[in-house]
Symmetry: C2
Subunit: 506 residues, 2 copies
C-alpha cells in the first residue's frame, strides 16, 4: 500500500491544504513521511454534507447488510496486518506483539457488533398491542424501536492507534447503529489512520453503501476538531483522550444551538484499594500490580495510578518489596514526544512536592521519550488536602496512600473523583463492608476484585465509562456491545399499518 497523505472524503480522496502534520518515530524523534495536509473548513463541510445525505439510505440498510459491511471492514484490516506491523510500531513506539493484539481486538469488536445487530439486539423492540375495548378509553397500538441518531464524529485516540481510533469501538458501534461516521485522525499516527481509513472506504465500496457513509480527515483541533463538533449535521461525538481535550469538546458542543451527546472518555487514576490481609504475603499482588502499571508504558486509560492501603505491622515490608521490584523495571518508549514530556513534568512535579516521597523508580532502557516507572507515597491527610495528588500522570507512575485507620480508608473512597475503574484486593471477604462496595460503585464504571484494571474485556457486561471526570456522560460505555446504545434513540410507532412498520416491529 502506498501512503499518499490524502484525506478520505466519502468515496473519493483528496489532498488537504491546511497545515501539514507528519508522524514521528518516538524512539528517535525522526519525522516519517508522508506529510498529511489538514482538511480545510470547506472540505470538512463537504464531508458533513455527504454524511447527512448518506444518512437516510444508510440508516435504512438491513441489519444483515450493515453486519456484512462491518465484517468486510474486519477482513480488509486483516488483509493489511503485515503493513500495520511495519508501519504502526514505527510511529507509536508500540511493540509488534501489541499491534498484533490490538489488530485482533479491533476486528473482534467489528465482528461483535455485526453479530449484535444480526441478532437485532440493538433495537429494544417493545410492543404494546391495541386494547380497543379498554374503559374508559381504548389503548392504541404502540410499538417502539431504536433508530440511528444521525452522523457521528469520532476522534482517534493517541494511545490505541487501532482499537480506539479510525475503526475502533466508537466507529464500529456508530456504523453498527446506522450512523455515518467522520473520523478526525489523531496526528500522532496518521499513517496507521490512512491505512485503516482506506480499509473502511474499500468496505463501503464493496458493499455499495452510500457516498458519505465514512470520511477520514486529518488536521488541527481548531479546524477539524471544533469544526466537526459545531457542524449542524453531526448528532453525536465520540472521543477518547485527555481531560483538557475532552472538556474542550464538551464546551464546543455546548455552544451549539442543538445540544448533542458528547461521549468523552477522559481521565482516570484507577484507584486500587489494598486490604490488610494482602499485606501479609504481598508478592502475588506486587507482581500483578507491576505488570498492570507497566502495560503499554502506563498509557492505558485504566492504568493503576493510586494504591490505597492501611498502616499495619506488614506495611513497611510491603513498601520495601514494592520499592525493590520497581527498581528492576525497565523504561519503555512512550507514544510521542508530547506525551513523554508531559510524563516527565508530572513526575518532576511529584518529586518536588514535600508532602509525598519517592518509594522507587525503574531503569532507563532506550533512547528518546522513555517512560521510567515511578512509585510515590503520601498520607491520607495530605491526599485529602492537596488536589494535585488526584491528577492523572499519564504513564507508569503510581502513588501509595498510607491510611492510619479504617476511617481514613473510607474517607479516601469518598473523596476520589469519578473513575473508569476502582479495584480492591483482599484475601478475606469479611474485611470488605457492603458500604465500601456501594461507595466505590458510585465512583466508577467498573469495580474489580483481586484483579487489575488494565485489560478491558470486549463483551456484553463491560462498562468502560464512569462518573465525571472519567467521562462526560456516565450513562454510557465506550467498550463492549452496549456502546452501540450511545448512537441510538427510541421512536414510538402509533397505529402504524403493517405495510409501513419497520420489519423488527411487525
Amino acid at each position: 500500500m502506498n501512503l499518499n497523505g490524502n484525506l478520505i472524503i466519502g468515496l473519493k480522496e483528496e489532498a488537504g491544504s491546511e497545515k501539514e502534520v507528519s508522524a514521528k518515530n518516538p524512539s528517535t524523534n525522526d519525522t516519517l513521511s508522508p506529510g498529511y495536509k489538514g482538511a480545510t473548513a470547506k472540505q470538512l463541510e463537504h464531508a458533513c454534507d455527504l454524511a447527512n445525505n448518506a444518512f437516510y439510505k444508510y440508516k435504512n440498510t438491513s441489519f444483515e447488510d450493515r453486519a456484512k459491511f462491518l465484517d468486510t471492514i474486519a477482513e480488509e484490516i486483516e488483509a493489511v496486518k503485515e503493513t500495520l506491523l511495519k508501519i504502526t510500531p514505527e510511529e507509536t513506539g508500540l511493540p509488534e506483539a501489541r499491534i498484533t493484539g490490538e489488530t485482533g481486538r479491533t476486528v473482534g469488536q467489528l465482528r461483535m457488533f455485526a453479530e449484535f445487530i444480526r441478532n437485532s439486539k440493538h433495537t429494544d423492540a417493545t410492543i404494546d398491542e391495541a386494547l380497543p375495548d379498554r374503559q374508559p378509553l381504548p389503548r392504541p397500538d404502540l410499538r417502539l424501536r431504536n433508530v440511528a441518531i444521525g452522523p457521528v464524529a469520532v476522534f482517534g485516540a493517541s494511545n490505541f492507534p487501532l482499537a480506539f481510533s479510525v475503526a475502533g469501538g466508537d466507529t464500529a458501534s456508530a456504523l453498527a447503529a446506522g450512523c455515518p461516521v467522520i473520523v478526525k485522525a489523531h496526528s500522532s499516527h496518521p499513517r496507521t489512520s490512512e491505512i485503516i481509513g482506506r480499509c473502511i472506504q474499500n468496505a463501503v465500496k464493496k458493499n455499495n453503501l452510500p457516498d458519505g457513509t465514512f470520511s477520514l480527515l486529518f488536521g488541527s483541533g481548531n479546524i477539524v476538531g471544533q469544526g466537526l463538533v459545531k457542524n449542524k449535521y453531526i448528532k453525536a461525538v465520540g472521543f477518547t483522550g485527555s481531560r483538557n481535550g475532552g472538556l474542550q469538546i464538551v464546551k464546543t458542543a455546548q455552544s451549539r444551538n442543538e445540544p448533542i451527546p458528547v461521549y468523552a472518555e477522559m481521565s482516570s487514576i484507577n484507584p486500587v484499594f489494598v486490604f490488610n490481609s494482602v499485606l501479609e504475603n504481598p508478592d502475588k499482588f506486587i507482581e500483578g500490580f507491576l505488570v498492570s502499571l507497566q502495560m503499554g508504558a502506563g498509557q492505558f486509560c485504566t492504568n493503576p495510578g493510586l494504591i490505597i492501603t492501611k498502616n499495619s505491622k506488614n506495611y513497611e515490608n510491603f513498601k520495601f518489596k514494592l520499592a525493590e521490584k520497581i527498581k528492576e523495571q525497565n523504561s519503555q518508549t512512550m507514544l510521542s514526544n508530547v506525551i513523554a514530556k508531559a510524563y516527565e513534568e508530572g513526575v518532576s512535579k511529584f518529586k518536588s512536592k514535600n508532602n509525598i516521597t519517592l518509594v522507587g523508580e525503574g531503569k532507563k532502557n532506550g533512547n528518546a521519550n522513555q517512560c521510567i516507572p515511578h512509585l510515590f507515597e503520601t498520607s491520607a491527610n495530605e491526599f485529602k488536602k492537596d488536589q494535585d495528588l488526584s491528577d492523572e500522570i499519564f504513564g507508569s507512575t503510581s502513588l501509595i496512600i498510607k491510611c492510619e485507620n479504617d476511617q481514613d480508608f473510607n474517607e479516601i473512597a469518598k473523596k476520589i473523583e469519578g473513575q473508569l475503574t476502582i479495584s480492591f484486593h483482599s484475601n478475606n471477604v469479611e474485611e470488605v463492608s457492603e458500604e465500601f462496595v456501594s461507595l466505590i460503585e458510585d465512583r466508577a464504571g467498573r469495580i474489580i476484585y483481586n484483579q487489575f484494571p488494565t485489560g478491558v474485556e470486549v463483551c456484553h457486561a463491560m462498562v468502560h465509562g464512569g462518573p465525571f471526570p472519567a467521562t462526560s456522560d456516565t450513562r454510557s460505555t465506550s467498550v463492549g456491545s452496549k456502546a452501540i446504545f450511545r448512537f441510538l434513540r427510541p421512536v414510538s410507532y402509533q397505529n402504524i399499518p403493517k405495510e409501513l412498520l419497520p420489519k423488527e416491529l411487525v
Copy 2:
C-alpha cells in the same frame, strides 16, 4: 387538610423567607391563600445535603421496598382525591373531570413503576461468565447492572398539575430508579403541590425511608430553579415546560464543572400531515382534529399546531368545513394569566402577519383568561421562508400549510424542527411512501397514523421525547416505563465474590 404554605424539607416542614407567591384563580384572577414564601439558598442547600445523605441508603433499598413506597404514594394521593377536586380546579381552571382523569394517570404511573422494578426490568442485568481456559488470555467474570445516578431535581409543569408535577412521571421514575428527588413546585399551582408533597412525605415516613429521600421547594426560578441545577449533589434534572425555560436550565447545567443529564421537554407543534384521500370525505378527520385541538384548552405538549395538506379539488371544501366547525367551538379558561396573555400575543402576531390568513375562530365563553380557538392558513413557500410560523403558540391554535405538490409536502417534512409527535392521515396506505415515514421518524419521538397526538399512553412502548427543540435529550422519554432509564447508569462488576455482588447479579 390544612394548607400552610410551608416548604417540605426531608422529614420536616418549614416556612421559606424569600418572596411569596400565591395561586390565582385563572377564571377570576382572584388570589388564593395561603401564600408560599420562597426557599432561601440555605434551605435549598440543606435539602440537597439531605438528599445526598439519603442517597446511599435509598439507592440500596430493595426493589420490593421501593415498589411499596411508590404504592404508598399512590394510596396517599387517592386518599386526598376529594381535596384535589376542590383545590386544583380553582387554581388551574381545569375542569373536575380532567382532575379525576389526571389523578388516575398519576397513581397509575406510580404503580406502573412499582411493578416495573418489582420485576427487575430496570436493572439490565447482563452476565458474561469467566472463561478461565480461554486462549491467549482468560476472560474474567463480568456482570453488569444499572444503578441510581444520584439525587434528581424535578421541575413541576404548569400544564399538568398532577401527572407532570410533584408526583408526576419524572418524580415517579427517579424514585423508582433509587434516586432521592427534590421538586421545585410550579408557582401557578402551589396548593396542589403542597397536597401532593405531603402525600409523598407521609409515604416516606410510613416506609421508614431516609430523611432527604424527598423535598419540595417553593420559590423563584433564580434561587430555587438555578440553585438546584447548580448544586453539586444534583446528578440529573427533569423539566417540562417552555423552550425558554428549558434552554435556561440547559445553560445553567452547562455552567457546572460536572456535566449532568438535563431532560427538558420543551416545545412541539406536532405537525399533522393530511394526504389527499382524507380530503374526499373529511368529516371524521375534522371532528377528531378539533377534539385534539381543544383538549385542555390546547395546553398539551402534544397539541396539533400544524396541518400540512396538498391542494386538490377537495381542498376548498375541507377548509370551508374546518372554518364552519371551528366557529362552533367554545373558548376555555387557560391555566394562568401569564399563559393566556402569551396566547393572545401569539394569536395577535399571526393575525397581523400578511403571509397567513385567518380561516376561522371560536366563540368566547367565560370571563378571564379565555383561550379562543383559531385556525390559520399559509402556503408552503411562506412557511419555508418565515421562521416565525414554526413557533409554538401554546393553546388551541393551528396553522394549515397548503402545499401545491408532493415536493412541497416532502420539503415541509424535511424543514420542520424536532417534534414530540408527527401524525399522518390517509385512507389509502399507498399514498404514503416509505421515504416519508423515514423522514418523519427522524424528526419526532412518536409517529402516528390516523389518530391524533393528544393522549399520551402510559405504557412500555411510549416515547414522549424527540429531537431538539422538542427535548434537550433525544435519547429519552419522559412518559412510560422507559423513563426510568434516564436516572440510571451502568456499572460492571469484575470478579466480585458472591457475598458482595448485588442480588440481581448472583
